[in-house]
């Protein structure tokens, strides 16, 4: 069964939900095995040298985005075998945004007063003194308490 696959290049970090996708190429692909794992499909496409520099894919029929697990294999029959692995962050971006959760770390809305174990102490100290006001005036006086 042939399926339509859109191939992309992306340099976005793995953790990015909204990856920037470029250089789209749409191709028809066939499944390699009798059974196709939608989360980790292995597809066969006609040879296209450009695909060796691609790293991302979208299969509209499955509604899922995928990473290339590795560079495509090229067969003797001049076909390319591409192993994909689902990218849950982009595939379920909307669900992730709508998800209510207990946030542990955040680049926004963080609380700097919660101890952070990624900030570590050194063993050395810095000591300084700060004067408070001018204090007393030196004097040389006597206080004599006399009965009467």
């Amino acid at each position: 069964m042939a399926i339509t696959v859109k191939f992309y290049k992306t340099s976005s970090k793995d953790k990015v939900v909204d990856k920037v996708l470029t250089n789209q190429v749409t191709m028809s692909a066939m499944q390699v095995k009798e059974t196709l794992n939608i989360s980790e499909p292995v597809l066969k496409v006609n040879y296209n040298a450009a695909l060796s520099s691609y790293n991302y894919a979208y299969i509209p029929e499955y509604g899922r985005y995928y990473y290339f697990k590795s560079a495509p294999d090229v067969t003797i029959g001049h076909e390319m075998i591409i192993s994909l692995k689902i990218d849950p962050r982009k595939t379920y971006a909307t669900a992730i945004r709508n998800c209510t959760a207990h946030v542990i770390r955040s680049s926004s809305n963080y609380d700097t007063m919660i101890p952070d174990n990624m900030i570590i102490n050194k063993v050395n100290n810095k000591i300084s003194q700060r004067k408070i006001g001018n204090g007393f005036t030196r004097a040389n006086k006597y206080y004599v308490l006399i009965g009467g």
Partner: protein, 701 residues
């Protein structure tokens, strides 16, 4: 015919509201309510477009719905369901109504409501005014084309069709027959409604709402705490963050928001960089530090000078081209946001954005602690303790004058001896004590110039002598702002503050108690014993006091047996006076008491020494015994020890910083990692686990 039973308990609100959509619709006013707005009954619009068995407290212009406080200590009023049929469930009598199924369904049962009546005559509560009827009955037909047209809220000015000469606490509607349909049942009030009298009583007495007893949303009650305050004192710094100056006056604003929400936001570049923002439809009042009270709506407040022109944040914020300002005396229970947009967003959706001062707020839950606020620094005022001139007299003397006095005493003439007969064998005995002070204590005492020392009826004339007339002044030695270095947890974990006060041991100050606050040192001096009491004041609260001795007590050498004994007694007194002075002298402010206390305390030791005819063995006990505190650094200073740390560059962007939010992840941006996600996604289990793992490891939104 089938029927279904609807239990009236707060954890069944979903079913209650689906069956009885007109019930429990009004949010409770819990902060000094002025109206009860209780209504119970059915609205028979479906058949006849008229009210049926409709009871309320709305009254009329003659019989107004009007609550008043009986005294200032009673602040709560509520009502509770009454005279329902009940069923015992898990040990609790639960009110219920049955719905008989038909075309249409109709109600079976009875429903009532009672205004809480802690005492039979309502004398201990906020009450409905006694000269009105507690409840009135309206049963006049009223036409309406829709249910909304017919409901009481559109006709709250109707005249009562029933009156009573005395207040009625309880009302009920009998439900049967015509118009008694579930959708037409109204049970509502503008004050909290509880499930039974017991729960209502608990609320009235404690302010606490027991679980599953109140039909109002908990959020309604959070409005109890609508008193806000902000205190600030604007300090200005140059581009190097060195102190330049500050306002002469501190600023305090107390806001009684009456249910409105108050937020603040930063407006960098302004000298007064916090702007306050009120939101809500209630009228409110606000009071400045001078006690001037203003009132108006939220807009009036937002445009007021007090909301805009006095408040400054407690951390450095840019001001002008090359300077900074910050609040040196800063405290608030108002959430402050980074900008106006965030503040406005927080009003609409409090979870959407964090304030920049989440930890500055007083999170004391309701009910609030009892007692009145005090400003202990302003309560710490100078006293005037008169010197005991006449009985004993304290002279302030130069060394030259003291030499002249000594010459006179050691070469006592017969005239002098006659004048001093009261003192026994030696004129030296007229001297009770002589102290040398290494510091000028004139700011703490008042003196009066005199021509010399008076010994009995004899005067040793000399210059350089003053009489100490009174003491007890409190003098400010200085202030310093404890500025955070990192503006994060390290300010509390990595910094140690040691306060050094002249003539005293250093003391450690807790960073959590002083960080971002103004540390002020004040002192008062007891000139009779050269004792000093330091007051350590943090943001105008007296945090603690420290007692210390300074100067040296000088032994007076007698030239006879009595004088020798006197010398020993002086020495013993010097050893014991530090503890005794703190215990008796400062407490009574009576120098005579100090002397007597010391002599009594020393009496036993003196007797022993006298019997053994030997010198007392001197030793230093405690911190600074008299005679040891002549030399010291004469100004207070802080020693700040900072444990250095390493924070990776771009930590916030790369891995975020810790937070403790429970919120929708879409409210955040950048790196986010979270646990226990509540996912609503249509996907296979393995992919769900992938999503949860991805959120836990971190996503960049």
């Amino acid at each position: 015919m089938a029927s279904r039973r609807i239990y009236f308990k707060p954890d069944n609100m979903e079913q209650i509201l689906s069956e009885f959509p007109l019930c429990f619709q009004t949010p409770a006013t819990v902060l000094e309510p002025t109206e009860a707005k209780i209504v119970i009954g059915t609205v028979g619009y479906e058949l006849t477009d008229e009210f049926i068995s409709h009871y309320n407290t709305f009254g009329s212009p003659t019989y107004q719905d009007y609550l008043e406080r009986v005294d200032d200590t009673k602040q709560r009023i509520c009502c509770y369901l009454w005279n329902f049929k009940t069923e015992l469930i898990n040990g609790q009598e639960v009110p219920y109504l049955d719905i008989q199924e038909g075309s249409p369904d109709w109600l079976v049962g009875r429903a009532g409501i009672s205004i809480f009546n802690g005492n039979d005559d309502n004398t201990n509560l906020i009450q409905i005014r006694n000269d009105n009827n507690t409840f009135t009955i309206y049963d006049t037909n009223y036409s309406g084309s829709t249910l909304e047209d017919a409901t009481w809220s559109n006709h709250s000015d109707v005249s009562p069709g029933f009156s009573s000469s005395s207040p009625i606490s309880n009302i009920q509607c009998y439900i049967s027959g015509r118009g008694s349909y579930p959708t037409s049942l109204v049970i509502d009030a503008a004050i909290p409604i509880f499930i039974n009298e017991s729960a209502a009583r608990h609320y009235i007495e404690t302010g606490e709402i027991q679980e599953n007893t109140c039909f109002n949303d908990a959020a309604d009650f959070e409005q109890i705490d609508t008193s806000y305050y902000i205190r600030s004192w604007t300090y200005e710094y140059n581009q190097y963050k060195n102190y330049v100056g500050h306002d002469n006056d501190k600023h305090r604003l107390d806001i009684f928001a009456n249910g409105n929400t108050i937020r603040g936001y930063l407006h960098e570049g302004d000298y007064y960089n916090i702007k306050l923002l009120a939101d809500g439809s209630n009228s409110m009042t606000w009071t400045d530090i001078n006690g001037n009270t203003y009132s108006g709506d939220a807009d009036t407040f937002n445009n007021s000078s007090l909301a805009n022109n006095y408040n400054t944040y407690n951390q450095y914020k840019r001001y002008g081209r090359s300077g900074y300002v910050k609040g040196g005396w800063w405290d608030t229970n108002i959430y402050i946001y980074a900008n106006k947009e965030d503040a406005e967003m927080s009003i609409d959706n409090p979870e959407s954005v964090l304030p920049i001062n989440p930890n500055d707020l007083n999170l004391t839950p309701n009910p609030l602690d009892t007692g009145n606020n005090v400003d202990t620094e302003s309560d710490l005022i100078s006293q005037t303790h008169d010197g005991a001139t006449g009985l004993i007299t304290l002279y302030q003397s130069s060394s030259g004058a003291l030499i002249q006095l000594g010459n006179e005493l050691y070469t006592a003439s017969s005239t002098l001896l006659d004048a001093l007969k009261i003192y026994g064998e030696s004129p030296i005995n007229s001297l009770i004590s002589v102290h040398h002070s290494p510091i000028d204590i004139d700011p703490f005492i008042s003196t009066e110039s005199t021509s010399g020392f008076k010994l009995g009826s004899h005067t040793v004339s000399t210059s350089g002598v003053n009489i100490v007339k009174n003491y007890g002044k409190i003098v400010a030695l200085g202030s310093t702002l404890i500025n955070p270095i990192y503006n994060d947890f390290r300010d509390y974990d990595n910094l140690q503050y040691e306060l050094h006060l002249p003539f005293s041991n250093p003391i450690m100050l807790e960073p959590s108690e002083i960080m971002g606050k103004l540390l002020t040192i004040k002192a008062t001096v007891d000139p009779y014993n050269l004792q000093i009491r330091y007051y350590i004041i943090i943001n105008s609260v007296v945090y603690r006091f420290i007692d210390a001795s300074f100067g040296k007590q000088i032994a007076i050498l007698g030239n006879d047996a009595a004088g020798k004994a006197r010398e020993m007694r002086q020495d013993v007194m010097s050893l014991t006076s530090a503890g005794i002075s703190v215990a008796t002298g400062l407490a009574t402010a009576n120098p005579v008491a100090v002397g007597i206390g010391a002599i009594n305390a020393a009496g036993g030791i003196y007797s022993t020494l006298e019997a053994e005819k030997r010198e007392p063995k001197k030793q230093i006990v405690g911190a600074f015994a008299n005679g040891c505190a002549e030399n010291d650094v004469l100004y207070p200073y802080l020693t700040i020890t900072e444990t250095l740390s390493i924070k990776p560059n771009n930590l916030e962007v790369t891995y975020g910083r810790p937070t403790n939010l429970i919120t929708k992840l879409g409210n955040l941006h950048g790196f986010v990692s979270a646990e226990m996600p509540m996912l609503e996604v249509d996907c296979p289990e393995n992919e769900r686990e992938m999503i949860i793992a991805a959120i836990s490891e971190g996503v960049i939104l």
